[in-house]
């Protein structure tokens, strides 16, 4: 590990970039886990989307408390539990990233800031005025445009997060349950006031800016790559046996 006080100047010689396209929720989470298992000294920046649209819930959440599973099934929305904490997210109009590395600040807050700074740079390169909002959000004019979550497994950090390119709060609450039906209208109004999107930004523009910003932030050369045969084989196994299973998704 790299000591905390040195992290602001950490530079990677290379970053392996994987643009894995659109996948199901189970395979998306499985690829992240396979990349954690297979990570070497070179960190990985993965860029991806979700097809069909999906809801991911945080590691500690109860899927039945948070998600209307019947509605998801009816409209063809995938549901999956993440490896990471945090809240339920509807993945539809967005770019999702994952950053996986063996070198990172040990302090949790510092590590979120460290990676989110690259995300902030990437958003601002597109003409927005974004800033990091600890612990794990990025906002433009006070409204959330990006949320991230991370886990640490056997000395490897995975941080993944969303960059909202569009937002449909009404659909979100058609799928997500709220703690109180009586307060549902107020909750929806609050979310509409607190969340926005990077409207006018395409997936490709965001991906390009993200790559450039990670290269800049970490002074690294980007190496475009594909998921290896071994990694995709492991990911497919995890998608089928873990991330599609009731044991995992209904465990809380």
């Amino acid at each position: 590990m790299v000591a905390r006080h040195k992290m602001s100047t950490v530079k990677f010689s290379k970053i392996r970039v994987l643009e894995t396209g659109y996948n199901t929720a189970a395979l998306n989470m499985a690829i992240d886990e396979a990349l954690i298992e297979n990570i070497g000294e070179v960190p990985v920046l993965r860029i991806y989307g979700w097809r069909p649209a999906a809801v991911s819930i945080g590691y500690f959440q109860s899927i039945k408390d948070e998600v209307n599973l019947e509605k998801c099934s009816e409209i063809g929305v995938d549901v999956v539990r993440r490896l990471t904490g945090g809240g339920a997210v509807l993945h539809e109009f967005e770019l999702t990233y994952s950053f996986i590395t063996k070198q990172y600040p040990q302090n949790i807050m510092d590590s979120y800031r460290w990676i989110c700074e690259a995300i902030v740079i990437s958003i601002n390169r597109l003409g927005f005025d974004a800033s990091f909002v600890p612990l794990n959000d990025i906002a433009v004019k006070g409204k959330k445009v990006s949320g991230s979550a991370q886990t640490r497994r056997k000395g490897v950090l995975l941080q993944h997060g969303t960059l909202l390119l569009g937002v449909d709060v009404d659909k979100m609450f058609c799928i997500l349950r709220v703690p109180s039906e009586k307060l549902k209208d107020k909750i929806i109004k609050d979310v509409k006031e607190r969340v926005t999107s990077l409207a006018g930004t395409t997936f490709d523009d965001m991906a390009s800016s993200l790559k450039t910003s990670f290269a800049t932030k970490f002074s690294a050369k980007l190496v475009a790559d594909t998921v290896s045969t071994e990694e995709i084989s492991r990911a497919r196994w995890l998608a089928e046996r873990k991330y599609s299973s009731k044991e995992w998704n209904l465990r809380r």
Binding site: G58, F60, S62, G86, G87, A88, A149, P179, S180, R252
Partner: protein, 105 residues
């Protein structure tokens, strides 16, 4: 909050299941089964949109809370002790204690 009594053969309530939703920095949901006579936790599940590192610490906490009295001091002490080597974002031992005690009210 809602509580669901279970009765023994004599019809006396011994065990209760109850849940509570508590807003701390993040939303905490607690489902607890407790022995009313002993005023102690039989089992507990804590869910929510919080962050806890390492993640496995939550299951350890839930296991350690089994048998703990549903009393403020005892709960807070067990939570503090169970999470002493963990980092939590979204609640603290005080708010989690209140979330658990809220199941009884």
């Amino acid at each position: 909050m809602a509580a669901f009594p279970k009765t023994n053969q004599s019809g006396i309530n011994m065990k209760r299941r109850a849940h509570n939703v508590y807003k701390s920095q993040k939303l905490i949901r607690v489902m607890v089964e407790y022995d009313e006579t002993e005023n102690a936790i039989n089992s507990i599940t804590i869910t929510g949109d919080f962050f806890l590192y390492p993640e496995e610490a939550l299951e350890t906490l839930e296991a350690n809370l089994m048998g703990t009295k549903l009393e403020r001091h005892a709960l807070k002490q067990e939570i503090d002790n169970s999470l002493k080597n963990s980092e939590v974002y979204g609640f603290d031992s005080t708010s989690l204690t209140e979330a658990i005690l809220g199941c009884k009210t």
